[in-house]
């Protein structure tokens, strides 16, 4: 690889001058030398060594991002928002997929710190895991102590700036909607228990049901992976145990899509026999059939806000921005069927006693 001194030598100038031409320094250089340098660059196909540059100008310009998986639409949307603001400000993003592995998350914080990022954004659910949370906070604190900026999206464990989708309110919206439609036998397919996103959404849902005199017993909840296959499988388990269910709340849209797949296989009509509610409103939600009724989160905006916080002026006190959830009514949620559903595989069971307000 050609180096800067190669270029300088070839152009018959000092490395300093070559550097100034190449970087468009404010220091003036005569046109003649400039030409010579540019010519040498072209001839040698010179590309500056990014590591050397980054080391020399200890500049801190890139921003580190840790998500679960960029190709998951939830994070893809958030990332779109992050990217938009970053690009506007001429920042490079370094995006890491933790695949929801806490250890990997910790490693990536170190890695990004090592890469001298100007700021760090963690997106995605927090964990109910004290030891991990403490470790993470220590690392983040150490990073902030050296001037790094940190913001989190959707996790409350961190003491600094945060952008929070209102998961709890979203769960509440879902619950209220189903109650309004007359459902009582409501099942939930949930993501991993250890995720705060799961428990927050569940808490809101439960609150809505409780307010309406319904309840949400643990036996009507199935925990699985937060993806399509997890949703499909959890739905199967749920229906197996509780054939009289008239509604299923999926704690994200991917699971909801899995649920629709299982229901189709089972031959249960949506929403005539079973209603389905999703969560997140990923782009694909409107394209499944029937189109998914879901709780929308302003994903792109969440990204925009987080990046703005982190690149904008700091604040004395940590800022928490809560962004509202919104119910999007499409075609998968309908009124509770008039009669008890005739279940195909298993014998119809007597309704278990739901309490009434």
């Amino acid at each position: 690889m050609a180096t800067l001194s190669d270029v300088a030598r070839r152009a018959g100038v000092s490395p300093a001058t070559a550097s100034r031409v190449i970087n468009g320094s404010s220091k003036p250089v005569t046109d003649e030398l400039r030409e010579r340098v540019l010519a040498a660059v072209a001839e040698l196909q010179y590309v500056p060594n990014a590591h050397a540059q980054l080391l020399a100008r200890s500049h801190r310009s890139a921003v580190g991002v840790i998500v679960h998986d960029v190709s998951d639409p939830y994070f893809a949307e958030i990332t779109r928002g992050l990217q938009r603001v970053a690009t506007d400000q001429g920042r490079l993003l370094m995006i890491c997929n933790s695949y929801r592995d806490p250890d990997r998350e910790l490693e990536y914080v170190e890695l990004l710190r090592g890469h001298q990022v100007a700021a760090l954004i963690l997106a995605g659910s927090g964990y109910h895991d004290e030891a991990f949370t403490r470790q993470l906070n220590e690392k983040l604190a150490a990073y902030e102590a050296t001037g790094g900026r940190v913001a989190v999206i959707g996790r409350h464990e961190h003491s600094g700036d945060a952008v929070m989708p209102d998961n709890r309110a979203g769960g509440y919206l879902a619950g209220r909607e189903l109650c309004g439609l007359g459902h009582r036998a409501i099942g939930v397919i949930a993501g991993p228990r250890i995720l705060t996103t799961t428990t927050d959404r569940l808490a809101g849902l439960r609150q809505a049901l409780t307010e309406q005199g319904r309840e949400l017993p643990e036996r009507r909840i199935r925990y699985a992976e937060f993806d399509r296959d997890g949703g499909a499988e959890a739905t199967a388990r749920l229906l197996d145990a509780d054939p009289e269910l008239t509604a299923i709340v999926a704690l994200n849209d991917s699971m909801a899509i899995g649920a629709l797949a299982t229901l189709r296989t089972t031959g249960l009509a949506v929403p005539q026999q079973v209603s389905v509610l999703g969560f997140d409103d990923m782009p694909i939600a409107r394209d499944v059939t029937p189109a998914l009724t879901t709780v929308r989160l302003p994903l792109v905006h969440m990204g925009v806000r987080a990046m703005s916080l982190v690149l904008g002026p700091g604040a004395a006190a940590p800022r928490v921005e809560v962004l509202p959830a919104e119910l999007i009514r499409r075609d998968t949620a309908g009124p509770v069927p008039r009669s008890t559903r005739a279940t195909a595989g298993s014998a119809p069971r007597a309704r278990r006693g739901d309490t009434t307000s």
Copy 2:
């Protein structure tokens, strides 16, 4: 930020020793000093400066990847394959989204070169653009001249190693399938004309139709963005001009999903009135309703192969691996309807003279 010399000073050793402990060098260090260094690292929350490291050991370990958009399922799958091999070999991936902007692609080649990547993988369609192709090849050649390895996925313009999905054969499969089902009035919603992927798939499709004595006139092709909305819009235009169409081939699954959306809005039943074929077999294809009949490409495997080529031993001659396409029959393609469709909005028109073999 604490530096290595800070650590060394605190531990009462030389920077050399500290470095050896931290990096697990093969050079032996007494346990006592090791302990002291490790303690200092922990106390100072020391993280090595990645740029300095990368500069000092001019090692070239990371691999650069340029895709259209990682969050596009097509590339997400490919990337999964790339990642798998890279992780196995302890390589870091730097992934850049070109968003199908040739200039950005060129910039990213430079950027990644500047970051001293050991290899470069370009995934995604090539362009029918000689000037661009020449420029890109020059840049790649310059990179290879300095020992860099290059592989491309799905583009023939490059002279080096390549992994090629058989787009043409895939188009052929789609055409043959529709002919077998009796379709004659076949429309195509295609990606941008400038992409070789578009023209390759189209060529295969046209070949199949021609062999069966059908034809594919330009008026039955609509070019649009290679995404959902492009597909929806192109479908609308196509149906508007040609209400008697009985089948639509989408040149990728995203467009196919857009087509399904438009057909649903229009009130045309799939596949009873109109058949739809996709291309790629993205994960979501099986979850739309009806499930999408499509041409499968071994996306993950393509990624695996490309990364293997690029990290494995070099070859004297450039290697081209062509990976086969496969037709996946699901529920969107059916036999041609018996009678001419009763079109809702526009008056039924006389069939234009399709030639018969």
